[in-house]
Amino acid sequence: MSAASVRAEAKRLLALSLEGGAVSSERVGAVLAALAKSRSAHQLRPLLRAYLTHIRRELARGEARIEHAGPLAAADADAIAAHFTKALGRPVRPVARRNDALLAGFRVRVGDDVTDLSASLRLANLAKSLS
């Protein structure tokens, strides 16, 4: 199989793994079981690698990874996730992690999109505008 056909097959498998716009563990298990039966080992390795990349990317698209300085209430994290769910049109769940290097505020990453409302970014922008 060529690299292009592997990517296309992995994309098709990813579509089969979604349930209600989100990755379903049951469906992923079924896809893997079907692959193990239908494909030989040397065909399976690149296809599984591409499928894993797509699954990870899709999972990241469904997560709002919140880095915050200081405490962040669960309600605030849920409010952030709700905001991105509404904005992106798909379910997004919050995953919070404390990072005091941000000084204050938070930084949210959903897939490849980053929203930064931290004090460290504002200071960096200030330094850039001054220099």
Partner: protein, 202 residues
């Protein structure tokens, strides 16, 4: 000369005899007008034979003088005149040639002088043009060097200012970050997070 001496001597000898015979001859021939004329010449001491001898003598002398003195002298004079005329003509030709040569030399000298003046003027013009060109080139090079130096100085100044500004900004931000990090407690950070959530919701 011996002939002349002899003739003179005979004439001298015959003179007294003639003088002795003269009255008789005059008496014998003193008839008519011819006799009168003869007697008249006789009264002046002129007698025929004597005159004839003198004429012959004079003719001989004239012939000799003409043959040996006058003719060679005239020939020499003619030769000398011819030489003098030739010399004069040569001198005139030489003078003319000298004048022509002088004229040609003057013309060549004038031409050479004109040529030298022209070459000198050309050389001066060329030197002047070269000096002007060198001066213009030096001025252009000087201007270029000054412009480059000014540009380099300006670039250095701008770079230095940017570095200073960047350094000051970095120090300000680092200081602000340290101040915030040291002075913000969790409660304040929590309030700031809530404000950020509200800002995101807007």
């Amino acid at each position: 000369m011996s002939f002349l001496s002899f003739l003179a001597a005979e004439t001298t000898k015959a003179a007294p005899a003639a003088a002795a015979h003269a009255p008789a001859a005059a008496a014998a021939e003193s008839h008519g007008p011819v006799g009168d004329i003869i007697s008249l010449f006789g009264s002046f001491g002129v007698d025929g034979p004597h005159l004839l001898v003198q004429l012959i003598n004079f003719a001989i002398l004239a012939f000799i003088l003409h043959r040996f003195a006058i003719k060679p002298a005239l020939g020499q004079m003619e030769e000398r005149n011819r030489l003098i005329e030739k010399g004069l003509a040569d001198a005139q030709a030489a003078t003319q040639r000298l004048a022509e040569a002088q004229k040609a030399a003057d013309a060549k000298l004038n031409a050479a002088s004109d040529e030298a003046a022209k070459i000198l003027a050309d050389a001066r013009n060329a030197a002047k043009a070269a000096v002007e060109a060198a001066k213009a080139e030096a001025t252009a090079a000087q201007t270029e060097v000054i412009a480059k130096a000014k540009a380099a100085i300006e670039a250095d100044r701008v770079k230095m200012l940017a570095e200073v500004r960047g350094e000051v900004s970095r120090l300000v931000v680092e200081t602000a970050a340290k101040v915030l990090e040291q002075n913000l407690d969790d409660a304040q950070r929590g309030r700031l997070n809530e404000a950020a959530v509200k800002q995101l919701a807007r």
